[in-house]
C-alpha cells in the first residue's frame, strides 16, 4: 500500500489547517457575546475556546490516526455524512459541558457570577450552535478529502493504464519476438530476388501470424484446429529461414482437433524448440508436434532434437507465460512439464478436455 502513504499524509495537513480556521470562527462567535461585559477580559473567552479546540483537536487527531475519516466511503456522500453525524450527540454534549463549565470558571476567576438564559433555552441554543459548527466542519472535511482522493485516483489510474499498455506490449513481444520478425523480413527480402511467388507466400503467412497474435485476450480459447493452423504458419516460416536444418512431424489425432485451448498457447513452446534445437545447432534437427485425447483430458507435446536441459536450467518467459495462462483458465487442473529424452527435449501440456465454445 506504498502509494497511499502520501494520501494518508497530505489530508492530515489539510485537515489541520481547516481545523484552525474553524476554531478562529468559533472564537469570534464566542468572544462577541462578552464584548459588552466589562468584567470579562477578552483573553478569558479566548482561553476557553483554546482549551476547547485543543481538547477536541486531540480527540479528532487520535481518531484520524486510526484513519476513520479516511476509511469512510467518500463515493457515497449520504452514507459518509450519516455515519459522521452519528457522533453528533456525543460531541455536542461534550461541547456543552466544557463550554458551560469553562464559562463558570472564567466568571468565577473574574469574581463575577455566570448569568445566563434559563437552562431550557441555553442548552438547546448551545446544542444548535455545536451542531452548526460540526456540520460546517464535516462539509470542509468532505470537500478536502474528496479533492485529494480524486487527485490520487487520477494518478493511480494513469499508472494503471500505463502498466496495462506495457503488459500488452510485453505480451506481443513475447509472442512474436523481434528477432523472428526482422529475420523473416530479411528472408522475404532475399527471396524477392530469386522467387517472387515464394516471397509473396511467406509474407502472407507472416501477416496471418501477426494478425492472430495481435487479436484476442489472454483468456480467449480457440479450437485446436485453429491453434495448429497458426503453429504451422510459424513452422513454415522457420523452415524457409532454416532451409535443410529442420524437419517437422505433426502427429495429430483427428478427434483432438475440436478441443478448445487458449489461443497461441503452443507458440512459445514451438519457439523454444526452434530456438534451442535448431538455431543452436548446425545439423538437421527434427521437431515433432503431438496432440491426443486421453479420456477426459487433452494432451499436447512438442519434442525437439538437438538440445538438452542443462543441469540448473531455469524456466524462461515462454514457458512461464504458458503456465500462467493455463493457471488462470484451469487452476491446478492443467499441467505443463518439460523433460529431457536422451538428446531431445519434450514439453508436455495436459489440460481438461473441453469442446464447448464460450
Amino acid at each position: 500500500m506504498e502509494k497511499y502513504a502520501s494520501l494518508a499524509r497530505s489530508p492530515l495537513t489539510v485537515l489541520a489547517v481547516l481545523w484552525a480556521m474553524l476554531w478562529i470562527l468559533v472564537s469570534i462567535a464566542e468572544s462577541a457575546g462578552y464584548l459588552h461585559d466589562p468584567t470579562i477580559a477578552l483573553w478569558q473567552p479566548l482561553m476557553l475556546i483554546f482549551i476547547l479546540a485543543c481538547t477536541i483537536g486531540v480527540w479528532v487527531g487520535l481518531e484520524l490516526r486510526s484513519s476513520r475519516y479516511l476509511d469512510l466511503p467518500l463515493d457515497r456522500p449520504r452514507d459518509w455524512f450519516r455515519r459522521q453525524l452519528r457522533r453528533l450527540p456525543l460531541l455536542a454534549s461534550g461541547y456543552i459541558v466544557i463550554v458551560i463549565g469553562g464559562r463558570s470558571a472564567i466568571f468565577a476567576l473574574a469574581g463575577a457570577a455566570y448569568r445566563h438564559a434559563p437552562w431550557p433555552i441555553l442548552i438547546p441554543f448551545e446544542f444548535i450552535k455545536a451542531s452548526l459548527f460540526y456540520c460546517l466542519w464535516l462539509g470542509l472535511v468532505f470537500g478536502a478529502l474528496s479533492q485529494i482522493v480524486a487527485r490520487e485516483q487520477a494518478v493511480a489510474l494513469g499508472l494503471m493504464q500505463k502498466a496495462l499498455a506495457e503488459a500488452q506490449l510485453a505480451q506481443l513481444r513475447a509472442q512474436l519476438r523481434p528477432h523472428f520478425l526482422f529475420n523473416t523480413m530479411n528472408t522475404v527480402s532475399a527471396l524477392m530476388h530469386s522467387d517472387v511467388k515464394r516471397a509473396d507466400r511467406l509474407l502472407a503467412r507472416l501477416a496471418d501470424l501477426l494478425r492472430a497474435s495481435l487479436g484476442g485476450a489472454e483468456t480467449d480459447t480457440v479450437p485446436l484446429r485453429e491453434e495448429l493452423r497458426l503453429l504451422r504458419l510459424y513452422a513454415d516460416i522457420m523452415q524457409e529461414r532454416f532451409q535443410g536444418r529442420v524437419s517437422t512431424d505433426w502427429q495429430i489425432a483427428d478427434e483432438a482437433l475440436a478441443a478448445r485451448v487458449p489461443a497461441m498457447l503452443l507458440q512459445p513452446l514451438l519457439e523454444n524448440a526452434f530456438k534451442y534445437g535448431v538455431e543452436q545447432t548446425t545439423g538437421c534437427e527434427r521437431i515433432c508436434i503431438l496432440a491426443q485425447r486421453q479420456q477426459n483430458r487433452l494432451q499436447l507435446k512438442i519434442q525437439n532434437t538437438g538440445s538438452m536441459l542443462r543441469p540448473g536450467w531455469c524456466e524462461g518467459v515462454g514457458l512461464a507465460n504458458c503456465r500462467e495462462r493455463l493457471r488462470v483458465l484451469h487452476g491446478d487442473a492443467a499441467t505443463v512439464s518439460i523433460q529431457s529424452l536422451g538428446s531431445a527435449v519434450e514439453a508436455t501440456i495436459s489440460l481438461p478436455w473441453d469442446v464447448t465454445a464460450p
Partner: protein
C-alpha cells in the same frame, strides 16, 4: 580487390548478400559460412579483408567470434543483425559498421564505401573487436587450432599460458595448443581475474596454483595442481600475492 567473407546461418540471408556484393566489380567473395567456428577457420586460412558477420549463430555467436580475434590483425568486420539494441548502441558509440536486417541495397553500398576508405588508410586496431569484447565480457571459451581446423576449449580448462615469440602455448590438463596471439592480448580476453602473470612470458590459471614456496633472493617457487613447478619472478610477486590474498 576486396576479399569478402559472408557468415550467416540462414541461407536466404547469405544469398541476398552474395547477390548484392556480386554487383560490385571490386568485391570478391572469399567464402560463405553458416556458423561461427567455420567462419573462424576461414578467417585464419583465407585472411579476408572484410567479414559480413551475423550475430545470432549456432555454436559461437558473431560477437563471441569477433572477441576471439586479435585487434591488430583482425579483418574489417561488418556486423549483420536483426535486432540487438544493446550491441547496436555500442557499435554506434565506436563507429563500428553494421547492417540491420532487412537492409536495402543502398545501405550495403554505403557500408562498402566506408570499407574501401578504411582499407586505403593504414591498418589500425580494430574497434569492432574491442567492442565485441566489451559486449561479450571475459571469454569463457577460447578458439584454438587443432589439426587443420579450430576448436573451442573451455577457458577454465587452461592451466598455463607460455609465450613463444609471436605465439602462445596454451596448456590444458592433457593437451597443448599453439595460438598465434600475444600473451598480453590473450590475458585481456581471458580475464585478469582468472589468469595471473608469473613471469614475463608465463601466466597461470589462479585456480590451478597448489603451493608457493620462497626461494633465495626474493624469488618464489610455484607448484601447480598438475605437479608442474615454475619460477615466480620477483617482478610479479606483489601482483600475484595481491590477487591470491597471501
Amino acid at each position: 580487390m576486396i576479399r569478402a567473407l559472408i557468415v550467416d546461418d540462414e541461407a536466404p540471408a547469405r544469398a541476398k548478400l552474395r547477390l548484392w556484393l556480386a554487383k560490385h566489380a571490386d568485391v570478391e567473395i572469399a567464402g560463405e559460412h553458416a556458423d561461427g567456428l567455420a567462419a573462424a577457420q576461414a578467417i585464419a586460412a583465407a585472411a579476408p579483408d572484410v567479414v559480413f558477420l551475423d550475430i545470432q549463430m549456432p555454436g559461437i555467436s558473431g560477437l563471441e567470434l569477433a572477441a576471439q580475434l586479435e585487434p591488430q590483425y583482425a579483418p574489417l568486420l561488418v556486423f549483420v543483425t536483426a535486432y540487438d539494441a544493446h550491441a547496436l548502441a555500442a557499435f554506434d558509440l565506436n563507429a563500428v559498421d553494421y547492417l540491420l536486417k532487412p537492409f536495402e541495397e543502398e545501405r550495403l553500398r554505403r557500408a562498402l564505401e566506408r570499407i574501401r576508405e578504411r582499407l586505403r588508410s593504414p591498418p589500425r586496431v580494430s574497434a569492432a573487436v574491442e567492442v565485441a569484447r566489451s559486449q561479450v565480457g571475459v571469454s569463457d571459451r577460447l578458439l584454438v587450432p587443432m589439426g587443420n581446423g579450430l576448436r573451442l576449449i573451455d577457458s577454465l580448462a587452461i592451466h598455463l599460458l607460455e609465450a613463444d615469440d609471436n605465439y602462445v602455448h596454451v596448456h590444458t590438463a592433457d593437451q597443448q595448443y599453439l595460438v598465434r596471439r600475444t600473451l598480453r592480448d590473450l590475458l585481456l580476453q581471458l580475464g585478469e581475474q582468472r589468469f595471473v602473470q608469473i613471469h614475463k612470458s608465463v601466466a597461470v590459471n589462479i585456480a590451478e596454483i597448489e603451493d608457493i614456496a620462497p626461494l633465495f633472493k626474493g624469488d618464489y617457487q610455484l607448484r601447480l595442481r598438475s605437479g608442474k613447478e615454475l619460477r615466480l619472478s620477483r617482478r610479479y610477486t606483489d601482483a600475484l600475492f595481491a590477487r591470491t590474498g597471501r
